[in-house]
């Protein structure tokens, strides 16, 4: 319910922000206001999803024994063969290095393009995005604003622990 209301509010804000001219006070104020609202909503939603505030525990349960959330035994991790664990660790390390190299490659490309001219021949990520999300593309811009706002709910919250 709350999430649906947030999505609708984000869509409405996105539609108006997409029509605002860039480099203006209005667009800056609207963007930072939505960012602040999303951070506040993220904090509230995270607080509500904690076990101590879990509605399933607080609600009267009509005759059934109440089992506190903290007493539930966590699922035990399956026993691993040592060889598999070493293989997983090695693969994880290799994966981390691969991710690091891929991100560094993207960063190097961005810097290479940034320090060369003209921009039409050396497009940065921003100039490429501007082709799709520029002020003339209201629908795409509004959709991007909605996605950006929704990401704010996720990045500001602590990830849930798996049982």
């Amino acid at each position: 319910m709350v999430t649906s209301a947030l999505v609708v509010a984000l869509a409405a804000c996105g539609w108006f922000v997409a029509a605002m001219p860039p480099f203006g006070v209005e667009s800056s104020a609207a963007t930072f206001s939505v960012a602040a609202a999303m951070l506040a909503a993220s904090a509230v939603l995270t607080d509500r999803s904690r076990p101590a505030f879990d509605l399933r525990v607080r609600e009267p349960n009509l005759g059934q024994p109440l089992v506190p959330a903290l007493e539930r035994a966590p699922a035990r991790a399956p026993a691993c063969v040592p060889g598999e664990t070493i293989s997983d660790t090695s693969l994880r390390l290799r994966g981390m290095i691969a991710w690091l190299l891929a991100v560094l490659l993207a960063l190097a490309v961005e810097l290479w393009e940034l320090f060369h001219a003209p921009r039409s021949s050396y497009p940065t990520l921003s100039s490429l995005a501007n082709e799709v999300l520029g002020p003339g593309h209201r629908i795409a811009r509004a959709a991007a604003f909605m996605c950006w706002g929704a990401c704010g709910l996720v990045v500001a919250s602590r990830p849930r622990r798996r049982a």
Binding site: A18, F32, L101, A102, V154
Partner: protein, 61 residues
């Protein structure tokens, strides 16, 4: 030519994600890496600052 550099960078990132889906265990996914960063206060702070900067950069300037 210079757009091809972006294609190479994008392919490298996509290949990393494909590898993580292929191996399943061990190789971290992009979501797993972001989740790991969100597990720490400093990581969340960096992500939030980056997110606010992205919104300002794309929608306000």
């Amino acid at each position: 030519m210079n757009t091809a550099l972006w294609v190479v960078a994008a392919v490298a990132l996509v290949m990393c994600e494909v590898a993580s889906r292929t191996f399943k265990r061990g190789w971290p996914t992009a979501a797993g890496l972001l989740g790991g960063a969100r597990g720490h206060v400093a990581g969340r702070l960096v992500l939030v600052i980056g997110w606010v900067w992205l919104g300002w950069h794309v929608f306000a300037r």
